[in-house]
């Protein structure tokens, strides 16, 4: 796929790269019987191909499954995990997972949108133990909690710190 191509939605991406292993892995996930909304009926909510990077938006409650599925599909290396605060839009938080495949020499980005100030998300430390520090960092700086994390403590800020510095409602400078 050429770098200057932009595919803006799931249908376009599915049409252009139906063979992509990560896409196939996510589509093969079982449907969620409990979800009553049509959009939530599947793990893969949206897809986008922009500037040579494939972004797959995953339903928040299915991130652990999705991570395990792309891992099994060959994207074996979790390189980065971080968040973006989109205040004041809703859903507020975006969590981005950058995953590398050593065999295919390619990246994908899994993206999860979380609403509310007190967002929680399933931890993927059971899939990649290396997510440990990254999830602690996101918890520390954004206040997103990860369920199932073995040791969810602050990592960069002092333990007794109040607030989460990388949120957009946290000031860049202190009072003068």
């Amino acid at each position: 796929m050429a770098v200057d191509t932009t595919l803006i939605d799931k249908a376009a991406v599915l049409e252009a790269m139906p063979e992509h292993p990560a896409l196939q892995a996510l589509l093969a996930l079982p449907h969620d019987a409990l979800a009553n909304h049509a959009l939530l009926n599947h793990a893969l909510l949206d897809a986008r191909f922009d500037r040579g990077e494939l972004t797959l938006t995953v339903a928040p409650e299915r991130i652990r499954e999705a991570a395990a599925a792309v891992q099994a599909a060959g994207f074996n290396f979790l390189e980065d995990l971080t968040a973006v605060d989109w205040l004041p839009s809703e859903p507020r938080f975006q969590v981005s997972y950058h995953i590398l495949s050593h065999a295919m020499k390619d990246y994908i980005r899994l993206r999860v949108m979380l609403s509310g100030d007190e967002a929680t998300l399933a931890s993927i430390t059971s899939v990649w133990p290396g997510a440990n520090y990254y999830e602690r960092e996101v918890f520390d700086l954004f206040g997103i909690r990860f369920e199932g994390h073995p040791n969810l403590r602050r990592i960069l800020m002092p333990d007794e710190w109040v607030g989460h510095p990388l949120r957009k409602d946290y000031p860049v400078e202190g009072y003068r």
């Binding site: 390189e79 981005s96 950058h98 520090y133 969810l152 602050r154 109040v162």
Partner: protein, 406 residues
């Protein structure tokens, strides 16, 4: 909004039923062999490591938050303060990320100079690693040798950018200024003698029985563990995973250079030492190729609204003066979007995740540092080993706390 999860580290981590025999020992943050301000909490049974917890954050300065309040071009000097031993690699990674957002084409000469200087940075970083690693083991002499050569590299950096360490020489759209006329000759002179110097270090260490005994079989990391824990760079390659972004996902013209990627399947501290030593020899080859085939042409992209004009133009042309004024006071707008750009830094895969909302300031900049992930593997490497081995293992993973804490 008070968030306190867990308890202070010194009370928590003792294993079940082991409280009576085990001792908790604090190492750092002011310990000479922790390479910065790393604090380790060690649970030991006699002299055997049972558990090990790195406590980090002593150098946390909130660089990612600061970036959000700066113009895109003002972020460049922040990046080289993260990994202060390889400033050019940080500059390069950030510039590539923003250039990807802007879809900016960089002239070939600028790309080649970037490759050449990034490889010099790799030598610089590996020299510091080798000197301090050997010093931790007790071989003090090597430090004096490696810093002698490092001084030459720093002088080259000073000639190029005016700064020895915080170079900020790579800018969005190219390079800050034309390199000095004698730069290539100076680098050539350095490269000519450097392979002999590597032999010299090797003579001092590779056959040294004390050094071998302290390193061989220590700090074993399997390929599976390395991948699971996010370890990259020389430690990953020393564990048998043959992956190097310079070769496998080339950026900045690396596809035009021929070099080998040294690997080892042993996975211990000794293997990491050999892999890095070999990497230095390969870097020399890359620099030699860059010197031999250096293309002619401009060093800045033709994008007057993004790249600062040359001083001469700025003083003689009205247009250039206006562009200069606008870039400095208002910055340049970057199209909305998100990119993740990764490069092979001396320590492993470094990635910059830049999110733009269409304004002149980045909405979010995240740095993926190799050291941060590699530090996670420290416990795996040290468990069940002697206390004295911790020092050897920390030296071999070559972490820089500046980039871990950000």
């Amino acid at each position: 909004m008070t968030e306190t999860i867990g308890t202070p580290i010194l009370e928590a981590p003792l294993a079940e039923g082991a409280k009576d025999q085990h001792m908790v020992l604090n190492m750092g943050p002011q310990h000479p062999s922790t390479h910065g301000v790393l604090r380790l909490v060690l649970e030991i049974d006699g002299e055997i490591i049972v558990r090990l917890y790195p406590e980090i954050g002593y150098l946390h300065t909130g660089v990612e938050k600061t970036c959000e309040a700066k113009f895109y071009q003002q972020v460049v000097p922040l990046t080289d303060r993260l990994d202060y031993l390889s400033p050019m690699a940080n500059n390069l990674c950030y510039c590539l990320a923003v250039e990807k957002l802007l879809a900016l084409e960089i002239p070939e000469k600028a790309q080649w100079i970037r490759v050449m200087l990034t490889e010099l940075t790799r030598l610089n970083s590996h020299l510091v690693w080798l000197g301090t690693h050997a010093m931790d083991i007790g071989a003090l002499t090597v430090f004096l040798y490696t810093f002698r050569e490092r001084e030459d590299i720093l002088r080259i950096f000073e000639a190029v950018s005016g700064q020895r360490m915080m170079t900020s020489y790579f800018r969005v759209g190219g390079l800050a200024m034309e390199p000095p006329l004698d730069l290539f000759d100076r680098i050539q002179a350095f490269i000519k003698t450097f392979p002999e110097k590597i032999d010299e270090y090797s003579n001092l260490l590779t056959g040294n029985p004390i050094f071998i005994n302290r390193l061989r079989g220590v700090g074993y990391l399997s390929a599976t563990d390395a991948i699971a824990l996010g370890v990259t760079g020389p430690p990953l390659r020393a564990s048998g995973v043959d992956f190097d972004l310079r070769r496998d996902r080339p950026y900045s013209s690396y596809e035009k250079f021929q070099f080998k990627v040294p690997t080892s399947t042993v996975g211990d501290t000794w293997a990491r030492y050999l892999v890095r030593l070999e990497e230095m020899r390969e870097s020399v080859k890359i620099i030699q190729q860059a010197l031999d085939g250096m293309p002619e042409g401009p060093i800045k992209a033709d994008a007057p609204k993004i790249v600062l004009p040359d001083r001469e133009k700025m003083k003689t042309q009205m247009e250039a003066l206006i562009h200069h004024f606008k870039i400095v006071t208002e910055g340049f707008n970057v199209p909305a979007g998100e990119v993740y750009q990764s490069i092979e830094s001396p320590r492993g895969q470094m990635g910059y995740y830049v999110v733009s909302d269409g304004t002149a300031k980045p909405y979010r900049v995240h740095m993926r540092n190799p050291s941060f992930a590699t530090l996670q593997a420290l416990e795996t490497m040290c468990q069940g080993r002697l206390l004295a081995d911790v020092v050897a293992v920390i030296g071999s993973i070559d972490i820089v706390l500046g980039e871990i804490d950000r």
